[in-house]
């Protein structure tokens, strides 16, 4: 086994799939020579050429719609939106066209495309370059939504997303791009099916359900608590839609105490979906405390680095929430 970064994992997934299937094309702003806003596609232009690695004008709406149109006519496009904040410009083609075209045309269309975009704060990008908007796309029937937390997951899930026959929104985590993780050797292909959560740490006292960049943070906190004899299970949702309800519910039944953690601001966040799903399930009678949410504060992401760090769930806040559950 070897270690690569999360960004490399994304690149490998795209490259392997593009080698395998000539119908995959990749659209995005400055994804060619520049390698994309975060260097994720560096080098791909050299391998695949300008016909397949396609720099676009700054036109998020058109390139997303273009990907949908290409997908409906036989290609399998990947489109990169440089920051997830810019999906605000692409919601029309994503939501009204890509997500609905199969259904509204009575099954005539399929729209196999992947919209990749980095989300999250922590880079000093401030209000318009730091949002976590996954809840929006989770609320659109016809879309699938993935947020990986490790290099291993990023690669396996992206490959599965590219092969999926539906529009998949694949949200990467800026702050994880440089983190390293173990993945199989280059020749050893693997895919991770969409719709399966992953228990990243087995525990019996409390369940933390989380995803994305909060996963390593929760794991760290869990590690600290284990020394105090509190055994935390950490479930990484990975695929937000379709949601692996069984996995979440089983864990909740086991521990009886559930904490949901995400970076996105709390009000209207996907944590509400997760928490409500657990509550209104066969796990309810097992719950020995209210299902708690610990999420980003309901504020735009500030520029100042200290404030920026404090308005999302910190290790301290996670530990505090765990203690509240423990002591409930």
């Amino acid at each position: 086994m070897r270690e690569i970064t999360y960004a490399q994992a994304v690149r490998e997934a795209m490259s392997e799939e593009m080698r395998r299937n000539p119908n995959i094309v990749f659209f995005g702003e400055d994804i060619g020579v520049y390698g994309g806003g975060f260097g994720v596609s560096l080098g791909m232009l050299d391998e695949f050429g300008e016909d397949r690695i396609i720099d676009t004008p700054i036109s998020e709406l058109a390139i997303t719609g273009c990907a949908a149109g290409a997908a409906m006519t036989g290609l399998r496009p990947i489109v990169e939106i440089m920051f997830s904040d810019f999906i605000t410009l692409a919601m029309e083609p994503l939501v009204n066209q890509a997500a609905k075209n199969r259904f509204q045309f009575g099954g005539q269309a399929s729209v196999p495309m992947v919209l990749r975009t980095p989300g999250g704060s922590g880079t000093g990008g401030a209000e318009q370059h730091s949002q976590s908007l996954e809840a929006w796309v989770c609320h659109v029937p016809g879309l699938k939504v993935v947020i990986p937390s490790t290099a291993y997951d990023a690669k396996g899930l992206l490959k599965a997303a590219i092969r999926d026959n539906n529009p998949v929104v694949f949200i990467e985590q800026k702050l994880l791009y440089c983190t390293k993780g173990v993945v199989p050797e280059v020749g050893d292909e693997y895919l991770i099916p969409l719709g399966k959560a992953d228990v990243k740490r087995i525990g019996k006292d409390i369940t933390i359900i989380t995803y994305g960049r909060m996963v390593p943070r929760c794991l760290k906190v869990a590690g600290q608590f284990s020394k105090q004899g509190i055994d935390i299970e950490v479930v990484d949702v990975r695929t937000l839609v379709p949601l692996d309800k069984t996995c979440l519910i089983e864990s909740a039944k086991k521990t009886g105490k559930v904490l949901v953690v995400h970076e996105a601001c709390q009000t209207g966040g996907y944590g509400g979906e997760i928490a409500s799903t657990v509550v209104d399930s066969e796990a309810f009678p097992y719950l020995t405390a209210p299902v708690k949410r610990l999420c980003g504060m309901d504020v735009p992401i500030p520029y100042n680095r200290y404030l920026e760090a404090q308005i999302v769930p910190t290790e301290d806040k996670i530990a505090e929430a765990v203690m509240q559950l423990q002591n409930y």
């Binding site: 016909d51 390139i63 949908a68 149109g69 259904f103 009575g106 099954g107 269309a109 399929s110 699938k144």
Partner: protein, 321 residues
């Protein structure tokens, strides 16, 4: 030096136009009887546009349709049975009753669908044309939209994209002078929409949208042009006789204006051409009308006899396998 059109084509154009007219008149009736749900947008008066353009196209050429697109559907040889069934929301309709009038699509003849979003099809068209170029096909994509749609960002971004990438797409703007109640003089500061081609360094032309022959001929040339040179903007200037949709009381325009345009009826005009050039006799045309009416009666019967879709299947097409 007009290109000579065969009698078959003349007939096709005329027949499709009357079929479209009668189809819509019928739809309006069924609508008023409460048989059609929701809303519907008639293109009466604009038949020459979609029919003139689409009659040039091959099956492999794609079209992106508008909410006012029955002429485009019929031009592209879609089945009026399945169209009518879709209006009635039946399982045999083009969209299994899920889409209705605003989402008519027939992938088997190259229609990638009508759109309920003004300008919504324009970016999709660039993608379809991208596929055509990527796969080195010699087909093109035709993208329909209205005058109002040219004020949407989607129009701008898509024409720019298509131009930079030299995609084989013909952008067809049906300028009927209004977007709902809004006259183009209130929504843009130019009167010739083809000027908008300038921004993208592409060719733009403006045609009489009630002259089906000129539309047909220019489309033949345009198809060749876009295959070789990339996108082009073709503006067809015409008029919608009826209200924007069922509920429109048309306070925003005068009866006189409407009547003047009715004089320019594209069907009457083509009919007179056929007679004066002695391509067809009055009786020939009369027969076509009878045939069209029969086709519509058959379509209505088919639609009315068709089953409703079942709630049990509702999840089938939300996701593909």
């Amino acid at each position: 030096m007009n290109m000579i059109l065969s009698k078959t084509i003349h007939k096709e154009l005329y027949y499709k136009m009357i079929l479209c007219r009668k189809f819509e008149e019928n739809a309006a009736k069924m609508f008023n009887l409460g048989k059609i749900h929701g809303t519907t947008h008639l293109c009466i008066g604009e038949e020459a546009t979609g029919i003139g353009v689409c009659s040039v196209l091959a099956k492999e050429d794609y079209i992106l349709q508008t909410h006012r697109g029955h002429n485009q559907s019929i031009g592209k040889n879609m089945s009026i049975k399945r169209m009518m069934a879709e209006f009635l929301g039946k399982a045999t309709g083009y969209c299994k009753g899920m889409g209705g009038s605003m989402h008519i699509a027939d992938f088997s003849v190259g229609s990638l669908g009508a759109n309920g979003i003004v300008g919504g099809g324009i970016p999709i068209a660039t993608g379809a044309a991208f596929t055509q170029r990527y796969t080195k096909s010699d087909s093109i994509t035709v993208c329909f939209f209205g005058d109002g749609a040219t004020n949407e960002g989607a129009f701008h971004e898509s024409l720019n994209l298509a131009s930079v990438w030299k995609l084989p797409v013909l952008f067809v703007c049906t300028n009927n002078l209004y977007g709902m109640s809004t006259h183009i003089s209130k929504s843009m500061n130019i009167s010739d929409i083809s000027l908008r081609a300038t921004s993208y360094g592409i060719k733009g032309i403006s045609l009489d949208g009630n002259d089906v022959l000129s539309i047909y001929r220019e489309t033949v040339k345009a198809k060749e042009y876009v295959l070789k040179n990339g996108p082009m903007l073709m503006v067809l200037n015409t008029y919608r006789w009826t209200g924007h949709s069922k509920s429109d009381t048309q306070e925003y325009r005068t009866k006189k204006e409407v009547d003047e345009w009715k004089e320019k009826c594209p069907i009457k005009r083509h009919g007179e051409y056929l007679l004066s050039h002695m391509l067809f006799s009055k009786e020939d045309l009369e027969l076509m009308h009878i045939q069209a009416e029969q086709e519509i009666r058959d379509a209505v019967t088919f639609a009315e006899d068709s089953p409703e879709p079942c709630i049990e299947n509702i999840l089938d097409d939300v996701y593909a396998e």
